[in-house]
């Protein structure tokens, strides 16, 4: 039974006081409401074939001229398409993989990092997209592409963008933006190029990007706290730091930035534990005060972004803006990350046979489902409003489909279908099989530790970060497929947005580890 049972499809109350925002909201609600699912869930079908064909058309025939606007995002087009395939459950033939690898390598900049197109400047965002695409199509060994990724140069490129306030420019002469930080951290984690000098100040910077609403904006202003506000100048970054000066966030709380900041914060937990004072501990020169974010405020903001029943439970990206399919991932997909930070994610015993049934088992199922957002409604939004009849997925009706929305709607659907959370047994298994010497030998940064203590800390940083990221697994018995199992899509990693298979393989290779097999579902204790 859909939310129709609970919902009166009431419009957002306008209190008899119409403004541009409420008028646009009302029009949109009428539009979305007309896509309410007909009685009987089974009629709501994910047209996988159509969406495959939409993606395949782009891959085989190429992108139409209007995609010129994405000419500086070519690896994104590739990643959105290939990861779209991964989620929808399609494999790629070897020739396609080879052509993709060759294309991606043409985007690698001679000075390090990847660019939006051949001959363009290296940039953090296309670097993430390229590395993720490599995770999907590449493999170890000659011709597999992974060997040809110049990790040392990527590291140097990252360090060349580092700012005094802990942030990074996205490219030379580029802007500071939390999306860039997320992309950098995801890549550094996948490629085993994490170091304390790379991560220094990043948590502090991220914390300054949280707004009073609880979500995150795109950056913060460093100029009062750090003398060097101007990346165009060559001022000494260590010149002066005033910890009491305000570092206000720039830009309101926004779904995309909130996902990037939150995922970054989760990835950085191991770094924070090792390089900052413990909560309650006296900070010192070597262990500074731990930066904090308002986790409860963040949770509140994220769940407030889910639309009303009349909006079919889609997510919006900002307060008082319209719902959009892509926020299914950015905002909807962020909720599980926040749950993790709050410590409310634990793998449970799966439901018993008595209560696992579809129809009358809903209540029991709901009791077992710990997700703090409405998974059922989000799936309904994507299935009913997000699918374009001619193939591909979209923002909302009647907009056309595009590669970006196809991926993020699919990923959002995946996040609503599958509850993927950190697994403590999995994490422990990775740690007990951990080969620190191999991990250290595979570090390609050229970063040198100057003491045994520092070396051990860096070993721990690598091990703990890697083990945490690799520990995310689907919680058994918690899958929910609106419209039935035929609508099932593959699970995706909530931090990286790659399948667990792809992220496991890439990280095993770059950390020099042989990962223990993932314990098959039934025998988990």
């Amino acid at each position: 039974m859909s939310t129709a049972v609970h919902a009166v499809y009431s419009p957002t109350p306008a209190d008899g006081y119409i403004t541009e925002t409420s008028a646009l909201q009302a029009t949109t609600e009428n539009l979305i409401k007309s896509h309410v699912p007909p009685a009987g869930e089974s009629q709501v079908e994910l047209h996988k074939r159509c969406h495959f064909e939409f993606l395949v058309r782009n891959l085989r025939q190429g992108f139409p001229e209007r995609y010129t606007s994405q000419d500086a995002s070519q690896p994104w087009l590739i990643y959105w398409t290939l990861h779209g395939f991964s989620i929808l459950g399609a494999g790629l033939d070897d020739l396609t993989k080879k052509r993709t690898i060759d294309t991606l390598l043409a985007l690698q900049h001679p000075d390090g990092g990847f660019a939006g197109g051949p001959g363009q400047a290296a940039h953090l965002l296309p670097t993430y997209a390229s590395i993720c695409a490599f995770a999907i199509v590449g493999r170890p060994g000659s011709g597999g592409g992974w060997e040809a990724i110049d990790r040392k140069k990527i590291y140097d490129f990252f360090m060349s963008l580092k700012q005094p306030d802990g942030s990074f420019l996205v490219s030379h002469h580029g802007e500071v933006d939390v999306r860039g930080i997320y992309c950098l951290l995801a890549v550094a984690t996948l490629l085993n190029i994490l170091t304390p000098e790379l991560l220094s100040g990043v948590p502090d910077f991220l914390a300054t990007c949280q707004t009073y609403e609880g979500g995150f904006g795109n950056a913060s202003f460093p100029g009062w706290a750090f003398e060097a506000d101007d990346p165009e100048s060559q001022k000494d970054p260590a010149a002066s730091f005033d910890p009491t000066a305000p570092r206000p966030p720039l830009g309101e709380a926004h779904g995309g930035y909130t996902f990037c900041a939150t995922a970054s914060w989760v990835i950085l937990q191991s770094y924070i534990d090792l390089y900052y004072a413990r909560p309650g501990e006296m900070p010192s020169a070597s262990l500074p005060r731990r930066p904090q974010i308002n986790t409860r405020g963040l949770l509140r903001w994220c769940v407030q972004m889910q639309g009303l029943p009349i909006e079919l439970g889609g997510f919006r990206g900002r307060t008082n803006k319209l719902v959009d399919g892509c926020y299914s991932w950015w905002t909807g997909g962020c909720v599980v990350l926040v749950e993790t930070l709050l410590g409310v994610t634990t793998h449970h015993e799966p439901p018993t046979e008595e209560n696992a049934g579809e129809e009358d088992g809903h209540k029991a199922w709901d009791d077992v489902d710990d997700s703090l957002f409405n998974r059922r409604a989000l799936q309904e939004y994507i299935l009913c409003a997000g699918q374009h009849p001619a193939g591909g997925l979209r923002d909302k009706p009647p907009k056309p489909a595009d590669a970006y929305h196809t991926l993020y709607c699919a990923a959002g659907l995946s996040a609503a279908q599958h509850r993927v959370i950190p697994s403590e047994p999995r994490r422990k298994a990775v740690i007990s099989a951990w080969d620190a010497d191999q991990a250290r030998a595979h570090d390609n940064t050229g970063f040198v530790t100057t003491s045994d203590v520092d070396r051990e800390k860096l070993d721990a940083l690598r091990r703990e970060t890697c083990a945490h990221v690799l520990s995310w697994s689907e919680e058994e018995g918690t899958a929910l497929y609106v419209g039935g199992a035929a609508n099932r899509v593959n699970a995706t990693h909530p931090l990286l947005n790659l399948t667990v298979t792809h992220s496991d393989s890439m990280m095993a290779y770059f950390y020099g580890q042989t990962l223990p097999a993932r314990i098959p579902a039934r025998s988990r204790t």
Binding site: T3, H6, A7, P13, A14, D15, G16, Y17, T19, E20, T21, S22, L59, F63, E65, Y67, T68, S69, D71, A72, S73, I78, T81, T96, T103, A106, G116, G119, Q120, S171, H173, G174, E175, D177, Y212, E213, G217, N218, F221, W224, E232, P246, P248, P249, L250, G251, E252, G297, Q306, G307, P309, R318, T319, N320, D369, D370, S371, L372, F373, N374
Partner: protein, 331 residues
């Protein structure tokens, strides 16, 4: 008549470079002839490192066809600096592009680089005026607002830049009280960026902001922006939510008091006649008050969360139930 660089004798000395050599790229884009031509020549001058007036023409052409081409922007900026171009003239040239392509990052970042290089408060004043015009077209443009906030912080001039900002935010909120970008801007100006000239009495500022928020809530209570603002102000100033109990209570009732029953209280404006009550945000606020009070009040919080979960805000059922669990666990 061809507009291609390939046919232009002025560009005969440049060797155009195709995008992909010896690679059959996956998922190619079907560029127009003009775009392919311009970017082939762009790759050509990148290779030679040319920074000259004609490069400005080339990059402008590319930017107009693809305003997201960050490398073209980057090289344009470097060229402007290298040839010591008139940066204010560049700003004016960019005005039309900014208006046309206002949803693109690079357009705004370029202006920011120019403002930084010009380093003039006079120009910053003009820029803020320009941004007002842009925001008229798209009142919530993210990059524009973020850039506006950066200008204010970077130049940090109280009398010439900060002074009119709160009024500007108010003007926008008069036009649309649901404009979250304007609320965020108000918070930025009044609280997150230090103390404004004239705002040194923080108690007075707090009273003023609370009064403003309450007035806007009374006007249209089902507006998450203003409740988030109110909560933000209270949290920032460490003011307990409890202090607003009398104000919030009428918003949690199912109906307004009939006229004649109400007592005019300037500190606690009542919901407007057409307000649709109870409003969810007010119920949430009340529950937060009860939770903070703790002890016996927890049961009252739970009652509200239960009603939200089951009836008033069912979409967030799981969240409200989490709040119940969490409060009971701590009790």
């Amino acid at each position: 008549m061809s507009e291609l660089f390939a046919d232009d004798p002025e560009w005969a000395d440049v060797v155009p470079i195709r995008q992909y050599e010896n690679v059959n790229p996956i998922a190619p884009i079907f560029y127009s002839e003009e775009y392919k031509d311009a970017t082939d020549y762009f790759r050509g001058i990148i290779k030679t490192g040319e920074m000259s007036p004609r490069v400005l023409k080339l990059t402008e052409k590319i930017i107009r066809m693809n305003p997201a081409h960050y490398t073209a922007w980057q090289h344009r900026y470097k060229t402007l600096i290298a040839i010591k171009a008139d940066l204010e003239e560049e700003l004016r040239l960019m005005d039309v592009i900014a208006t046309q392509f206002m949803k693109t990052y690079q357009v705004w970042h370029h202006r920011r680089l120019l403002l930084t290089a010009i380093n003039s408060v006079d120009v910053a004043v003009l820029e803020l005026d320009f941004l007002r015009d842009v925001l008229k077209l798209d009142t919530k443009n993210y990059h524009t607002w973020s850039y506006r906030q950066w200008i204010l912080a970077h130049f940090n001039n109280e009398t010439r830049l900060w002074a009119r900002e709160r009024a500007y935010a108010e003007q926008l909120l008069d036009a649309d009280v649901r404009n979250n970008s304007a609320w965020h801007h108000r918070f930025f100006v009044v609280f997150s960026s230090g103390v404004r000239l004239g705002d040194e009495d923080r108690e007075q500022v707090l009273r003023r902001e609370l009064s403003y928020a309450k007035e806007k809530i009374a006007l249209a209570p089902n507006n998450l922006s203003v409740w988030n603002y109110l909560r933000g102000v209270l949290e920032f100033t460490d003011t307990p939510f409890e202090t607003l109990t009398s104000f919030v209570e009428p918003y949690t009732a199912s109906r307004r008091l009939a006229s004649g029953e109400e007592v005019l209280d300037l500190d606690n404006p009542l919901p407007s006649e057409k307000a649709e009550l109870p409003c969810v945000a007010a119920l949430e606020f009340m529950a937060d008050i009860y939770e903070k009070r703790a002890g016996d009040a927890i049961a009252k919080a739970v009652e509200i969360w239960r009603s939200l979960a089951d009836e008033r805000d069912v979409m967030r059922k799981k969240y409200w139930e989490y709040r119940i669990r969490d409060a009971l666990q701590k009790a």
